[in-house]
Amino acid sequence: MSQQLEASIVLEGVGGQGTLIAGKLLGILAMKLGLDVKVSEVHGMSQRGGSVITYVKIAPEVHSPIIEEGTADYILSFEEVEAVRWAGLLKKGGVMIINKQQIKSLPVLMGQMQYPENIVEALRSNADPEAKIVEIDALSLAMETGTSKTVNIVMLGALSNYLGVDEALWKEAIEEAFASKPKTIPGNLSAFEKGRANG
């Protein structure tokens, strides 16, 4: 199976939302396509509750693992305010998929900082007309599968509408990524379908 694909994909959100696993799954997908891939992440101080980002670059040949300002084809934002934080990475003609979930950080909870309102509208009104900004309620869709843990796979389902990779290959990649936890495979496949139908 070899499909031509060049994609720089940013996965960002809050620690614990499963961006790392989603990154690994895209890595498996790229290998199935016979392509080169790099998945980059930062460990250490970005523990639970911190802002986290994973870069995935897929192409016949990938050099730098980092996705820089104005170079992301796709941004999957797992949380609303994180979409603002990383918005500068999106390139002209890129697609940003935003999970409508809001996770308030401690300075917001303590009333020291404001959680902005109407984030998606603000992003849309300041975006180049060629860029596409999509909203999805990934948390509710994930809860339909019985656990909030599948938010990441719902997000990948939404992304699958834009990537042009065969659905069957995605499903194989999901089965492979969760091979060590076979009980979670049906829920994740269902999460993928829900994301694909709603993204």
């Binding site: 690994k24 250490g44 990938v62 050099h63 730098s64 980092i66 002209k92 900082m113 603000a122 975006a127």
Partner: protein, 601 residues
């Protein structure tokens, strides 16, 4: 290059972190022994090695201990490795410099991971200087496949040239995943050991002779790099447009390839010693020669010393990580990427500062220190976050173990006066790493410091590694456990000055610290409670603190602990995030109106 998953006879492809690939390379090379101290971004190398049952693998209490054990294994004939973050190389510099003289029997590899950009480090040192200073060859891979290949080759080089070899990684190589074709491992072979005092006993008469060997060795490696095979294979000349030639290595190579795809490149695989002949050959083929390297002008200065004209740091900074865009802007007229969203017009995204977790035992201690208004000499670990708001309880952090030494320095600078209102704080793992020698010094030199050991029964910041005080080894098997109380007593701290407290009981902790501060002898307060993220520290699911809203007086005392699991509602009454709450009870202890109650275990 594109890879295929299919086809017969191809090796199995795996996506690996750079660190996992280093481990794989060592395993494929038949490594027998690995001993390391954890440190971001190097930790996963040794954790991955631990999954290979054939390898004797362990966490050492510090990098010097790990390196010395690896040197011993090498002398006895086994292939051995020790891994560390960049500052860890400072700790094991002593054995490194003399192992360079003695050389090896089994291949010996030091693996060091730098952290340009300081994602999780206290400085941005460039470890390449260690290779030159210790006269040891250093390899620098650019992706996971090279991590595997270079590590494997490092063991061969080590044995061929009778020298330790340093593998230099950095964050973007250690923590990026890319495709590695996996090979079968070589058999673990233990070479014969023959007594050879001229080689292994590094006293002046022998070392004088060995220094000659070391200098000859470096010259031989440089000469061999000019041959067509062997070490030369680590380097690669990629001729494209000859107008611009770039010499680079490591992660910077990847940025260069994206930034100026038409430029010719000399990619160095070994960054010490440098291949002079190859560099001259490349320089002669290009009109303009530029060195692109993160951090210090290490390669640049060496090339200039060879009498070759080149540009480098006049174009690029010595600070932080590089990027494709900065290299492109400096070296070409190619267009820079344009953002799709005008970010200047977006609302401000509120910060997500790193915070102490819900149930973190350090929180209660720092609240006590905050109330006591003491000066705090701090150390390296999660508890460094005690320097941030709301506690802002830490005054100085330098390196592993320095909390104890700095507290002693405060004592001696003021004839003991500062010790009445100064404490040192250090974690269990950091105390065993290099706090214990400082404590011995404080007792011996009649200091009157109060040291607080934050014993959360794990090495927390690096992602939960075991240490000699936890009772488990790297493979999570039961292991002999060091008693911190007995250890402190054994270096001369009076038993009555060794106090154990539960930091969740923040007011009792405060009282005990106050009592120990008053004493004019060395005191140790052990604040003991397991990290909330490890099994022994985690509350059972579904058990959390509950609020009695009838009793709440809206005083806000519980909110001041800044627990991620306790939010102040609009009516100024607390709301517990039942998912996040660890039922530690710190907020319960803060409440004077009995409005909070721990869930029943």
């Amino acid at each position: 290059m594109a890879y295929s998953c299919e086809g017969n006879g191809n090796p199995r492809l795996e996506i690996m972190l750079g660190n996992e690939a280093v481990a794989r390379g060592a395993y494929e090379a038949g490594v027998k022994f690995v001993s390391s101290y954890p440190g971001t971004p190097s930790t996963e190398i040794t954790e991955t090695i631990a999954k290979y049952d054939e390898v004797a693998c362990e966490w050492a209490p510090n990098e010097k201990v790990g390196a010395e054990a690896a040197i011993g294994a090498s002398i006895r004939g086994a292939r051995a490795m020790t891994c560390m973050k960049h500052v860890g190389m400072n700790v094991c510099a002593d054995p490194l410099f003399t192992a360079s003289y003695s050389g090896v029997n089994g291949g010996l590899v030091f693996c060091v991971a730098d952290d340009p950009g300081m994602h999780s480090s206290q400085n941005e040192q460039d470890s390449r200087h260690y290779a030159r200073a210790s006269k040891v060859p250093m390899l620098e891979p650019s992706d996971s496949e090279e991590c595997r290949d270079f590590t494997k080759y490092a063991f061969e080089l080590s044995e061929k040239y009778d020298t330790p070899v340093i593998m230099r990684l950095h964050t973007r190589v250690s923590h990026s995943r890319s495709i590695v074709p996996v090979n079968a491992p070589d058999e673990i072979r233990i070479k014969d050991y023959t007594k050879d005092s001229g080689k292994y006993v590094m006293m002046p008469a022998n070392a004088l002779k060995k220094h000659i060997v070391v200098e000859e060795r470096t010259a031989k490696i440089i000469e061999d790099t000019s041959a067509d095979d062997g070490i030369a294979g680590l380097h690669r000349i990629e001729m494209r447009d000859s107008k611009l030639g770039i010499i680079t290595a490591g992660a910077a190579y990847q940025y260069v390839r994206d930034a100026v795809p038409d430029a010719s490149v000399l990619k160095l695989g070994m960054v010490w010693p440098l291949p002079e002949k190859l560099i001259k050959e490349f320089a002669s083929k290009v009109d303009r020669l530029v060195v692109v390297e993160e951090l210090d002008p290490f390669i640049e200065n060496e090339i200039k010393a060879m009498g070759i004209k080149c540009e480098g740091k006049e174009l690029f900074t010595m600070l932080y990580e590089y990027s494709t865009a900065m290299i492109r802007a400096a070296l070409s007229d190619l267009p820079l990427p344009v953002k799709a969203i005008d970010t200047d017009k977006l609302p401000v995204a509120p910060d997500r500062p790193p915070v102490l977790c819900a149930g973190c035992p350090h929180k209660g201690l720092f609240l006590a220190l905050h109330r006591l208004k003491v000066t705090v000499t701090g150390d390296i670990g999660c508890y460094t976050l005690g320097a941030l708001p709301p506690m802002q309880a830490v005054d100085a952090v330098i390196c592993m173990g320095a909390s104890v030494g700095m507290a002693h320095g405060f004592d001696k600078a003021t004839d003991g006066e500062a010790s009445r209102h100064t404490v040192g704080v250090i974690g269990d793992s950091t105390f065993l790493h290099s706090g214990i020698t400082n404590l011995m010094n404080a007792v011996y030199n009649e200091s009157s410091i109060t040291l607080i050991i934050l014993d959360n029964s794990i090495t927390g910041m690096t992602g939960h590694q075991q240490n000699p005080s936890t009772g488990y080894n790297i493979r999570l098997e039961k292991a002999p456990q060091v008693s911190l109380e007995k250890l402190c007593e054994s270096v001369g701290v009076y038993p009555e000055n060794i106090r154990v407290v539960d930091p969740v009981d923040t007011f009792e902790t405060e009282n005990v610290i106050k009592e120990e501060l008053a004493k004019e002898t060395v005191s140790v307060v052990i604040a003991r409670r397991p990290c909330a993220l490890i099994p022994t520290g985690r509350a059972r699911k579904g058990i959390n603190v509950e609020v009695d809203y009838e009793k709440c007086k809206k005083c806000g005392a519980c909110g001041r602990i800044m627990c991620p699991a306790l939010v102040m509602g609009e009516d100024r009454m607390p709301v517990i995030d039942t998912e996040a709450c660890n039922n530690c009870g710190l907020c319960v202890n803060m409440c004077r109106f009995d409005a909070l109650r721990k869930g029943e275990e």
